[in-house]
């Protein structure tokens, strides 16, 4: 029998669904009489038990402490669970929160560690995790020779959230002692909107050299407005004085920090431009050159003339 543990997370009392994706990842390697436990730290952990009562979860470990995000406490919890239960796997959702404590815990406990995993399996008894590298151009299968416990952080959207009903036992656990070296001081006030706000925009339509000449730029401002997008551009467009610097995306320009959908038309995708937008989850590239590097980071690609596509889009918004 092996102990499998998922650390679930909440934010200000609100359960984080990504924790259920980690449950799915671990459920996939659960065998025979393995025990799958999910631990959660919260001011009122009982409140989250229903959300965690999904198929395959045998136990919820309820740790009554705080609703604040406290990485030192999470690290201490992992430490206590590894010591008490010698789990074969401890998993948590990957993200900037996990960056704060997962590697710290793994290094201290001398566990195996793989971050941002998108696949997990047992191969002849060996745990094998899959992650991507080199800007998603390669996949890597990783194993953990000689490690009793392996800590994993699980990529968002790589696994379906666990569903199906279950009736886990609930174990209450006192919060472990943690050396908390940080003090919460508050939150940064939200950035003020108004004017051109590439950093705050969730939807950006961006144009590059392919636009041809200045008189065409106006058409994309119009299209962006009708689609409800902010118009961005690559460096040459701003250098030409065709659009203000405030619209330039990339190094020496703006970072599309909150963008969820980025449509790049006639943008080749230089390293400088990619700096400002490659993190965006949904990138659509429109370019006549099928080899333009922008396609390598896009989720959707259209090989075609940006002017034609723009003209067609004008009819659809």
């Amino acid at each position: 029998m092996a102990n499998l543990i998922v650390i679930a997370e909440q934010r200000d009392g609100e359960f984080r669904e990504t924790s259920l994706e980690a449950v799915t990842a671990i459920r996939g390697i659960k065998q025979g009489d393995d025990k799958l436990s999910v631990a959660i730290i919260a001011a009122d952990p009982q409140k989250h038990v229903p959300a965690l009562s999904v198929e395959g979860v045998d136990e919820v470990i309820a740790v009554k402490a705080t609703d604040d995000f406290q990485p030192d406490l999470l690290e201490a919890l992992i430490g206590a669970l590894v010591k008490d239960r010698a789990p074969s796997v401890v998993a948590v959702a990957h993200g900037v929160d996990a960056w704060s404590f997962a590697p710290t815990a793994a290094a201290r406990l001398d566990c195996g560690l793989a971050t941002d995993i998108m696949g997990l399996k047992l191969d002849d008894g060996d745990l094998v995790a899959t992650r991507a590298g080199y800007a998603e151009k390669v996949l890597v299968d990783i194993d953990f020779p000689g490690k009793e416990t392996v800590l994993l952080t699980v990529r968002t959207n790589a696994f379906e959230p666990a569903s199906g009903s279950g009736s886990p036992e609930v174990t209450e656990m006192a919060p472990p002692e943690a050396d908390v070296a940080t003090t919460h001081e508050g939150w940064k006030p939200p950035a003020d909107a108004g004017g051109i706000d590439i950093g705050g925009s969730e939807f950006i339509l961006s144009i590059g050299r392919g636009v041809g000449d200045e008189s065409n730029v106006e058409q994309y401002l119009e299209l962006a407005e009708s689609m409800g997008a902010t118009l961005g551009c690559s460096r040459p467009i701003a250098d030409n004085g065709w659009l203000p610097k405030a619209r330039q995306v990339g190094q020496s320009g703006q970072l599309a920090a909150n963008c969820k959908l980025y449509i790049a038309m006639g943008v080749s995708g230089s390293v400088q431009h990619q700096w400002g937008m490659k993190h965006v989850e949904n990138i659509v590239a429109v370019n006549t050159d099928p080899e333009a590097s922008i396609f390598s980071i896009a989720r959707y690609g259209i090989v075609g003339d940006m002017a034609e596509i723009a003209e067609e889009l004008e009819n659809l918004f």
Partner: protein, 259 residues
């Protein structure tokens, strides 16, 4: 006052590439190497603190890597770091982030800096492991993904903002010395002047082996079993006439925007 900044020479892959014969890595001929993007920001943050503190402050850059990694150190030295340390041993060829952190922990013990900065992640594999693993091994206070920092050289605490899930930024204070992993955008990294680049060639770089650090071997937390190309390219190509392509694109936009 001393700030230690860990840096990494990272590799970028050509659009078309081939695997090594052992299928555990990419053929070197298809790799382009450069200083990790995040490290430009951590080096800059250290230099800003040094400049505010005056001449007493020292910025030391350290990397774990073979001769190729010298370029990363020289890039940081050209910007104004005072000296470099490069640790290498053939036994480190397959070291992962945790193993690198074990080596760096020894360097920290040796150098006794007041602060350690690392990049929030590296641009090649993006594991986001080394910096916070180093903090764990040292038992130092730490904060990951720092996007704003107020710290004056030698102070007992630093006030900073760190990024959390969902774009939140938490303001917090941390006991020092601490290990901070630095996020992009925290500052505007400088470019080395042509003079700085020349001078960097004269600045001292210590080359250390595992022996020099009293390490016999360094265990990794993971091992690469196999590396391979995904079956299909990432972008889903939208085919058809321009009108068809635009129609599909409009559907995607409306779906993602909830229109």
């Amino acid at each position: 006052m001393k700030i230690l900044v860990t840096v990494k020479q990272v590799a970028f892959l050509d659009d078309e590439f081939e695997m090594r014969d052992d299928d555990r890595g990419v053929d070197e001929d298809f790799l382009e190497k450069d200083l990790n993007e995040f490290d430009h920001y951590s080096v800059e943050e250290a230099l800003l603190i040094k400049e505010a503190a005056g001449d007493d402050a020292e910025v030391v850059v350290v990397t774990v890597g073979d001769e190729d990694a010298d370029d990363a150190l020289r890039t940081a030295l050209a910007k104004g770091a005072d000296r470099g340390i490069r640790v290498w041993d053939d036994a480190l060829a397959e070291a992962d982030g945790v193993a690198i952190a074990k080596v760096l922990a020894k360097v920290v013990e040796r150098e006794k800096p007041d602060m350690v900065f690392t990049g929030a992640q590296s641009a090649d594999f993006g594991s986001a492991v080394t910096g916070m693993a180093l903090a764990g091994l040292l038992g130092w206070p730490h904060a990951a993904v720092v996007c704003n920092l107020e710290y004056s050289a030698g102070a007992n605490t630093a006030t900073l903002r760190r990024e959390l899930e969902g774009g939140l930024e938490e303001v917090m204070s941390v006991r020092c010395p601490a290990v901070l992993s630095i996020q992009l955008g925290i500052n505007e990294p400088r470019y080395a002047s042509l003079r700085g680049i020349k001078q960097a060639k004269q600045k001292p770089v210590d080359e250390l082996s595992l022996d020099d650090l009293d390490l016999d071997s360094v265990g990794s937390a993971s091992r690469v079993r196999r590396m391979y190309a995904p079956e299909k390219g990432q972008a889903e190509l939208i085919a058809g006439s321009a009108a068809e392509q635009a129609k599909r694109l409009a559907e995607i936009i409306k779906e993602l925007r909830g229109m």
